[in-house]
Structure formats: structure tokens, C-alpha cells
């Protein structure tokens, strides 16, 4: 498995959990501390910290060391490889059915030409 695929696995694994997706959605509105992130959930700060570690390992968020509260921020660029993989898969099917349409119109014109 290549490094790029490993990164992709980390991204998808990090996104596999609904709590982590909710955290990311919240961070899309701006930086937040662990305390702020724990508020909407019935979870301890310790549990939230665990989720943050997974997100951080996948590179989807970063935490500044400058402030005592160590706020988290989203790293939107890290979502690109996953989104690209999906769009390539979609593109493959789109191209395939585009060519099928072309083939169908050729069949049709052959039929008309034969009459």
C-alpha cells in the first residue's frame, strides 16, 4: 500500500465516527477549545480528547501550542485526496456512460443508413 493510500485510509477512518464528523462540522465555523467542543456532547473532555487525537493523526485538524487552551482548527486541504478519489471514481462511470451514449447514436445512424 502506498503512502497516499495510507493517508486516505486514515482520513476515512477518522471520518467513520459520527462524533468526529460533528466535531469537524463545528470546527468549520472556526477554532474551538476542547471545552467548547465537549459542550454539545454528553461526553467527557477526556473522550473528546481521544477523538481529537484521531483527527489530528489524520491531519484533518491541528492544535496550536501557543495558547494554554490549545484551540483546534480544521485543515480543509487534507480532505482533498478523499474527495478526489471519489470524484475520480464518479468520473470513470461518467466517461463510460458518455462513450455508451456515443456508441448508441452510432448504432442508430447505422440502422437509419441501412434502410
Amino acid at each position: 500500500m502506498t503512502t497516499a493510500e495510507d493517508d486516505l485510509s486514515l482520513t476515512f477512518a477518522a471520518l467513520a465516527d459520527p462524533t468526529r464528523r460533528a466535531i469537524l462540522t463545528q470546527l468549520a465555523d472556526g477554532e474551538a477549545t476542547v471545552t467548547q467542543l465537549a459542550e454539545p456532547f454528553a461526553l467527557t473532555q477526556q473522550a473528546i480528547s481521544k477523538h481529537l487525537k484521531v483527527l489530528e493523526r489524520a491531519g484533518l485538524i491541528s492544535r496550536t501550542r501557543a495558547a494554554q487552551s490549545r484551540p483546534c482548527r480544521l485543515e480543509p486541504g487534507r480532505f482533498d485526496p478523499a474527495a478526489e478519489w471519489i470524484s475520480r471514481h464518479r468520473q470513470m462511470w461518467q466517461d463510460r456512460y458518455d462513450r455508451l451514449d456515443q456508441h448508441l447514436s452510432e448504432l442508430q445512424s447505422q440502422q437509419e443508413g441501412g434502410r
Partner: protein, 148 residues
């Protein structure tokens, strides 16, 4: 196990269900469009044994360097002209592709390609356990994050 890593692609074509079904199951048709881009699939490189348990294989040749990739699948359900299902047992989790053909009238047919167990999702046990959402919804979710 829940269906995971789903992918759906919808398309409306100006042709009958029968013709579309034949295009997707006859080597001389498939060779004209199977691709994917940058590759060629010759009819001689396509094996179709059109019955449940029968083989569906396509040898795709890279136009640039001549390297070959073979898709190896087995038909699971064959119901002309409504439904065609094949599974790729070699892909982890057994990626399954279901194609349904719906008559919209006036010579138009909707073709829906639905795939389950798309392999990228199966890369890790965590992903296997939790990512019960579709790739399309995931893509939409990612784009909403990026748009903020």
C-alpha cells in the same frame, strides 16, 4: 454487515432497456465503451458467461505502456432487461455492482449503477465498522466543509 462504501450513478439514455442491457453484457458492445479513459478493452479480452455464477472478465490495456489490468467478476443476478448484478470477489469485501434499467417511456431508459463495498472504505477496521454512509453523501459533506 451493513452495506458500506456505497456509490450511486444515475443516467438517462435514449434507448430501450433491452438494447442497454445487451450493450452492458455483449463483448462487441462493451469493447466500444468499457474503457476506462486511457485504456482499451478489446472484445477478445472480454469474457461473458451470462448466468448467475458465470464469469464476467475484462482485460483493460493501458494505451500508454501496454500494461494490463483484469477485472474479475462473477454474475450474481441476470434478469434481462431489468437488472444485472456482478461481484468482484478479489476486491476486499467483495465489491458488488448492481445495474438497474427502468423504462421511462418515449424510448428513454434510466440506468442506475449502484456499488456497495467500494474498497477504499475497507482499508481499515475502523472504517469498516463505522462508515455507513454513501460516498456521494461523503463528497457532499466534504464540500460543505470546504465551502465554509
Amino acid at each position: 454487515m451493513a452495506q458500506q462504501g456505497e456509490f450511486t450513478y444515475r443516467r438517462v439514455h435514449r434507448a430501450t432497456r433491452e438494447l442497454l442491457f445487451d450493450c452492458l453484457t455483449q463483448p462487441e458492445h462493451l469493447a466500444r465503451f468499457w474503457g476506462p479513459a486511457g485504456t482499451t478493452t478489446q472484445s477478445g479480452g472480454i469474457t461473458v458467461d451470462l448466468r448467475p455464477g458465470g464469469v464476467f472478465e475484462t482485460v483493460m490495456v493501458n494505451d500508454a505502456d501496454g500494461s494490463q489490468y483484469t477485472m474479475r467478476a462473477v454474475y450474481v443476478d441476470v434478469q434481462r432487461p431489468e437488472r444485472l448484478v456482478w461481484q468482484e470477489p478479489g476486491v476486499e469485501g467483495g465489491m458488488t455492482t448492481t445495474i438497474t434499467f427502468t423504462d421511462l417511456g418515449h424510448g428513454r431508459t434510466e440506468v442506475v449503477t449502484h456499488q456497495t463495498n467500494v474498497p477504499v472504505i475497507f482499508a481499515t477496521p475502523e472504517a469498516r465498522a463505522g462508515f455507513g454512509t454513501s460516498l456521494d453523501r461523503f463528497a457532499a459533506y466534504v464540500s460543505t466543509l470546504a465551502a465554509r
